[in-house]
């Protein structure tokens, strides 16, 4: 099966780049290759990772979601609002955050499928609407005074950071789902050729609605995790998070045209961005150069990966 081989090559091409960057950092710093630092990298990539897994579903259907960053802020603010100590049991703010994200995702999905508006426009609208709502709900100020039970979500469980466990769980479930469920295969079918999928009896609208809704739910989760991590709901948090998430997915070999891509690829894309961010800080590279280097490595990784895939 040619597609399988291509995916395999995709995977190894990117793995090669990550190992190369990792090797470089191991040689140039004496801190990169330590348990503490690698835990650190894992913790720092988990929010972008959760977002990237979610938006992989949307990109696979040939859609896009530009509202991720703003919805992260809105879900974080919504969660923090219900997380004051003694107000509610700890699951309430978590559920509120998740539902807020899911609601935004479903509205996106309904407007894309039933409304027939281009995903770019719908989610661009959602991006400003949810940012505005985050400012309205919070009165423009960070929502502080969160209970210890909730901020404990940023802590460790059996020595592993809980955000990392969330990310790993989400990635594993998504990987299993896309491979083994009929709905998972339908997502590829819709993105590959919508008309053919419809002719074959795939409920295209419902599949898309599911993709946007799931992406929203995971964005809500990212919002809750971020709020726990910075111990506040920040209405201006998450600026441009959608770009890092989409970059990770595309680096991982998912096509912006839909139908092609894997969760393992997304995972590697997330790791590459995380390792670069961490490594540049460890090396003490100036902020100005960091931005340039990051861009070059991202484009270079995709280029190398695609070249490898073609040969």
């Amino acid at each position: 099966m040619p597609t399988l081989d291509r995916n395999l090559l995709h995977r190894y091409g990117l793995l090669f780049v990550i190992l190369l960057v990792g090797l470089g950092l191991t040689l140039t710093t004496d801190t990169f290759l330590s348990v503490a630092n690698l835990t650190n990298v894992a913790r720092q990539v988990s929010i972008n990772g959760i977002l990237a897994v979610g938006v992989t579903f949307v990109l696979l259907t040939a859609g896009v979601d530009l509202s991720l960053g703003s919805v992260v802020a809105l879900s974080g603010v919504a969660c923090a609002t219900f997380a004051h100590p003694g107000d509610h049991p700890v699951f309430v703010p978590i559920v509120v955050g998740l539902l807020t994200g899911a609601a935004c995702g479903l509205v996106n999905g309904v407007l894309v499928t039933r409304g027939g508006v281009a995903p770019f426009i719908v989610t661009l609208g959602m991006m400003t609407i949810s940012r505005g709502l985050a400012l309205i709900v919070s009165g423009g100020r960070p929502v502080a005074n969160m209970s210890n039970e909730l901020t404990a979500l940023a802590g460790d469980f059996l020595g592993i950071p809980i955000p990392v466990l969330c990310f790993a769980g989400v990635a594993l479930a998504a990987w299993f789902f896309l491979r083994n469920f009929r709905l998972g295969r339908h997502i590829y079918a819709v993105g590959g050729n919508e008309n053919a999928a419809r002719a074959a009896g795939v409920p295209v609208e419902r599949v898309k609605l599911f993709a946007y809704g799931l992406c929203g739910l995971l964005t809500g989760l990212a919002g809750v995790v971020l709020a726990a991590r910075i111990t506040t709901g920040q209405p201006n948090a998450g600026q441009a998070y959608e770009l890092d998430a989409i970059a990770a997915v595309v680096i991982g070999g998912t096509s912006l045209a839909g139908g092609v891509g894997t969760i393992t690829g997304t995972l590697l894309g997330v790791l590459l961005i995380g390792v670069i961010n961490n490594g540049l800080d460890l090396l003490g590279v100036s902020s100005y150069y960091q931005a340039v280097i990051k861009g070059v490595i991202i484009v270079g990784a995709v280029w190398l990966d695609r070249r490898q895939a073609r040969s």
């Binding site: 710093t29 801190t31 330590s34 503490a36 630092n37 650190n40 913790r43 720092q44 309904v110 407007l111 039933r114 409304g115 027939g116 400012l135 423009g140 100020r141 960070p142 502080a144 940023a154 802590g155 971020l226 991590r229 910075i230 111990t231 506040t232 920040q234 209405p235 201006n236 948090a237 600026q239 961010n277 961490n278 800080d281 460890l282 003490g284 100036s286 902020s287 100005y288």
Partner: protein, 318 residues
């Protein structure tokens, strides 16, 4: 209700129309309320979602309300230079008697200042300077804030030790001057070493991640963190607390936002530098009124900074 494209579009339009008419109504109220001889002042705030700016803007609005015969209109630029430029053009078109501008940026906001001056409208700049000067500037010398914070670190470390510095958004006047103030202190104490510095763009989540990385890279080599604002200081504080290193590291920020003050009170954050938002807000309204009435007004009014530690905290908690 079944959601068809038409009902979805209708719902969208209805929400939009509602928001539009609400803003029209509030706009008309202001226009109608302008009486003969009443002074109209336009105020463009940099970003109401930033805690310090929000506090300053609230002071401007509240203080203007206490002045009889004065109408103040506030708009929020949301850190967007272009948006602020349009807001300024709208003020000019409304022929306001004076403008209070809290510029977004040092360089990029300069054209907006030039436009106001070309229109001959009295201009007060508050909290942030631009390349062109207004008729009056109300601010605090950010150089001073950076110096005060680093002096506190130097004193705590007895002039010996490693320091990490978290910058604000590079190129803003607050970042440039706070850094310059800190650098002056470094020059004075050869024993103080700048171990590493990086921008976290005033953002707590970014400061948290950078500090986590620094803990890996420079563990044991630093005993203080200077953050250009409290948001970033809170981020650094969280990273250090989670790594159980806080007791060895002195952390200081600038602005004295509410969360920083309560962190100082709880003995978590070591210190912050108080920038007097209310003083700046009131000062800018006073200057705008003097200028609108064509009375002499000082070119520059500096509201002093103060170091806040647990010892003198009580006078700042209201």
């Amino acid at each position: 209700m079944r959601l068809t494209p038409r009902t979805a579009a209708a719902a969208f339009l209805a929400v939009g129309a509602l928001a539009l008419s609400a803003s029209f109504l509030s706009g008309c109220k202001k226009a109608e309320a302008r009486k003969e001889g009443e002074l109209l002042i336009g105020f463009s705030s940099r970003d109401l979602s930033a805690e310090y700016t929000a506090k300053l803007s609230e002071a401007v609005v509240d203080y203007a309300k206490t002045k009889p015969g004065v109408k103040l209109v506030m708009v929020d630029a949301q850190s967007d230079v272009q948006k602020q430029f349009s807001q300024v053009e709208n003020f000019i078109a409304q022929k306001v008697d004076a403008i209070i501008l809290n510029p977004c940026e040092l360089e990029a906001s300069t054209p907006a200042v030039d436009r106001i001056k070309a229109a001959g409208i009295p201009l007060v700049l508050v909290n942030q300077t631009t390349k062109s000067v207004g008729d009056s500037y109300i601010g605090s010398n950010d150089f001073e804030a950076g110096r005060i914070a680093m002096e506190a670190i130097a004193k705590k470390l007895n002039g010996q030790g490693g320091v990490l510095m978290l910058h604000g958004i590079m190129g803003t006047s607050a970042q440039l001057q706070r850094e310059a103030g800190a650098r002056e202190v470094f020059a004075k104490y050869p024993g103080l070493k700048l171990v590493d510095h990086q921008t976290a763009s005033w953002d707590r989540a970014k400061a948290l991640a950078i500090t986590e990385n620094w803990i890996q890279a420079h563990k044991g080599k630093f005993s203080a963190v200077f953050a250009h604002n409290d948001e970033m200081a809170m981020g650094a504080l969280l990273a250090l607390e989670r790594a159980q290193l806080k007791k060895d590291v002195y952390v200081i920020g600038i602005d004295a936002i509410a969360q920083a003050l309560s962190a100082v009170k709880e003995g978590r954050l070591d210190a912050t530098v108080f920038q007097d938002a209310v003083g700046q807000g009131k000062g800018s309204v006073d200057a705008a009124l003097l200028l609108a009435k064509k009375q002499p007004c000082p070119k520059e009014t500096m509201i002093p900074f103060q170091l806040i530690t647990r010892d003198n905290l009580s006078q700042f908690l209201k």
